[in-house]
């Protein structure tokens, strides 16, 4: 069979089937068409409104006149605006730090117990994340109720006077942050748990043989291995927390006075409730810088990991 004579190349017949090259070209056209709904959706309902917000922020209240940076100047002169900046930062940073710490600690405890019980515990601990935030905040609102607060009922047994949970600026800020931590920590827990599970056991065994104590194992093995997920989860949560609306809106509506207003709730108040759309747009635009910075970090991280694969 090895010594077959080569067929004469003149025998080869050019076939006229649909061209492979054309097929490849058509492929990219089809691909584009398949992605088109997504492109349109993003362009019309995300990119365009985002750009439109910038335009709106430069109009006067009745949207009849271009005022340039007038709205921005107006805001800079108002104390409320600076309060909102402070409150948003305080709210986001404090909440994210506590969410990350609680998430990390709880993930460790869940990881420590025998694996057949882990599913059950994980299931229970994730419940706050599953409930729509507006609904769960109603429960907190009721727990914080000025006259019937169930927390105050317990505290009264220890002789601690009624706490004005939502009635006083400091306590109200604490309450808003607490509810956000309650709702967001489970998300961190689930992410960190997934990350913990991806650390190979051999690393811990090697560290144990090298004589590392439990905290050294966390410091030298767990944390470095999880650094990526810790960072990306925290950045992501920073964006979501900074732009949060539901919790504050339901719990305090920004009150007392403006003590708990965040950019989102204040923009809603100014833009929708008071009908000053340009000013509302201007307020909401102040979320962009911090969002952009966090997004840039996340993107860098994703690209880095993409190139490692």
């Amino acid at each position: 069979m090895a010594d077959v004579t080569a067929p004469n190349s003149a025998v080869l017949v050019q076939s006229n089937r649909s061209s492979l090259h054309k097929l490849m070209q058509r492929k990219s056209t089809i691909a584009f068409l398949m992605a088109l709904p997504l492109i349109l959706l993003i362009a019309i309902l995300v990119v365009y409104p985002a750009g439109y917000a910038i335009w709106l922020s430069m109009l006067n209240k009745s949207m009849s006149k271009f005022v340039g940076f007038g709205n921005f100047e107006f805001l800079f002169k108002r104390q409320t605006f600076w309060d909102v900046v402070f409150q948003s930062c305080l709210f986001a940073i404090t909440a994210v730090i506590f969410k990350a710490m609680i998430g990390f600690v709880v993930a460790h405890f869940v990881h420590n117990i025998p694996s057949k019980g882990q599913r059950k515990w994980r299931g229970m601990l994730l419940v706050p994340w599953v409930i729509p935030p507006a609904m769960s905040t109603l429960a907190w609102l009721w727990l914080f109720d000025p006259s019937y607060s169930a927390f105050n009922w317990i505290l009264a047994h220890f002789g601690i006077g009624p706490v004005p949970w939502l009635g006083e600026a400091g306590w109200a800020r604490f309450a808003v942050i607490l509810v956000n931590i309650w709702a967001g920590a489970p998300f961190f827990m689930i992410m960190y748990l997934a990350a913990l599970k991806s650390v190979p056991d051999q690393l811990y065994e090697a560290a144990a043989i090298d004589g590392a104590a439990w905290w050294q194992r966390i410091w030298y093995v767990t944390l470095p291995m999880m650094r990526n997920i810790i960072a990306i989860t925290a950045l992501f949560s920073l964006i979501v927390t900074f732009a949060n609306f539901d919790i504050t809106r339901v719990l305090t509506s920004g009150g007392p006075l403006t003590a708990t207003h965040l950019f989102a709730t204040w923009a809603f108040k100014v833009g929708i409730e008071s009908g000053d759309i340009p000013l509302g747009a201007t307020v909401s635009l102040f979320m962009v810088p911090i969002l952009a910075v966090a997004a840039a970090f996340i993107l860098r991280d994703i690209n880095k990991r993409g190139s490692e694969v």
Binding site: M1, A2, V4, A6, P7, L12, Q14, S15, S18, M24
Partner: protein
């Protein structure tokens, strides 16, 4: 009739050539194995035959028709992938019949063909199972079954055994050979494993850096390699390459390895090697099995030499001995009872009637 013909086939990825002009004629019913190190272009060549890669230049013909522009499904080929590429959500029967179903083949016909192929491969009782519930070897069979069912002009295999463990690989190798003897379809088989290539092929195509180094039967390649690359690639342990010189002394040629070590060239090769007397950069190629121990009851001759052994590797039926000549590690195969031991001097014999003289600059076997 399903010969496969490649004429000056070129493949470039963004101007980086992967295949640099391959000419190959594969006869009907022939089992061809493309073998070479990773990145040599063997898989790319196979994928061009399959139509999964566009060709940059040249022609590919299947059964006398140029198929350069024909989409894979119309080329009448079947392919077995390295990771089997079984559809995980379909059972074995559905996996095997998927292609026929898309072609709107009548149900009865599909059933007949699937059962026939399943019979050939002995997987009839697995037809209801999902791929997840199959062992590696069984998945391999199903992948072949999927190919056989389509009754194609050409089978293409892309390293089909490299995901199996060593023992199963040997078993499936025999299996593939048996199947080919039954269905007699033209087959192009890609592997990086030269043993697989040798055992399966009617003809082996050795590729390197996008070019064909040599085409020939397994025995041809083993005994008369055309290049140093082929000589070194085929055979395990690999051929020894020792820098040498050709000397003329008293009308006879000698191969000189070191000041102390030289061998007479066998008389039948004298004429062939005479032109290379005194030439630089020559290499002696000698397979390990041609360096053996001297046996006490055999006459000593000029090819015997004493050598201090560095490392001994007992293999059971033979023992490999490693020693250093001219700065190069050399391997010999000796009888396990010959008493080889590390750091001990041993009497060895080089069988130069099977030697190869290689020009190290061109890589050609002279």
């Amino acid at each position: 009739m399903a010969q496969v013909t490649l004429r000056k086939v070129v493949k470039k990825y963004d101007e980086v050539p992967a295949v640099r002009g391959v000419d190959l004629d594969i006869a009907d019913k022939e089992f061809i194995v493309l073998v070479g190190p990773s990145g040599c272009g063997k898989s790319t060549t196979l994928r061009m035959i399959a139509g999964l890669e566009e060709i940059t230049g040249g022609d590919i013909a299947i059964g006398g028709n140029i198929v350069n522009d024909v989409p894979p499904k119309d080329r009448d080929i079947a392919m077995v992938f390295q990771n089997y590429a079984l559809y995980p959500h379909m059972n074995v029967y559905e996996n095997m019949s998927f292609g026929l179903k898309l072609k709107k083949t009548p149900k009865a016909e599909i059933d007949k063909r699937v059962r026939l192929a399943a019979g050939i491969l002995d997987i009839t009782e697995l037809l209801d199972r999902k791929p997840k519930a199959l062992s590696g070897g069984q998945r391999q069979r199903v992948a072949m079954g999927r190919a056989i069912v389509r009754d194609p002009k050409v089978f293409l295999f892309d390293e089909p055994l490299s995901n199996l463990d060593a023992k199963l690989r040997v078993q499936m190798r025999t299996e593939i050979k048996k199947v080919h003897q039954k269905v007699r379809t033209t087959t192009v088989y890609v592997t990086h494993d030269q043993v697989e290539a040798m055992t399966l092929a009617d003809r082996v195509v050795v590729m390197n850096q996008g070019l064909i180094e040599q085409v020939g039967t397994p025995n041809d390649l083993y005994h008369s390699p055309a290049t140093k690359f082929v000589a070194g690639f085929i055979g395990s342990p690999a051929m020894n390459f020792i820098p040498c010189q050709v000397e003329q002394a008293a009308g006879a040629l000698r191969i000189r390895l070191t000041d102390a070590l030289s061998f007479p060239v066998p008389a039948e090769r004298t004429a062939r090697y005479t032109p290379y007397v005194g030439k630089p950069s020559l290499v002696l190629g000698l397979r390990p099995e041609h360096i053996i121990e001297t046996r006490p009851h055999i006459e000593p001759n000029q090819h015997d030499f004493d050598m201090k052994i560095d490392v001994v590797e007992p293999m059971g039926m033979e023992t490999l001995v490693y020693f250093t000549v001219n700065g190069v590690e050399v391997c010999g195969r000796v009888n396990p009872n010959a008493g080889a031991a590390a750091a001990k001097t041993m009497k060895l014999r080089a069988d130069l009637s099977n030697m190869h003289l290689i020009d190290d600059t061109t890589g050609k076997v002279l």
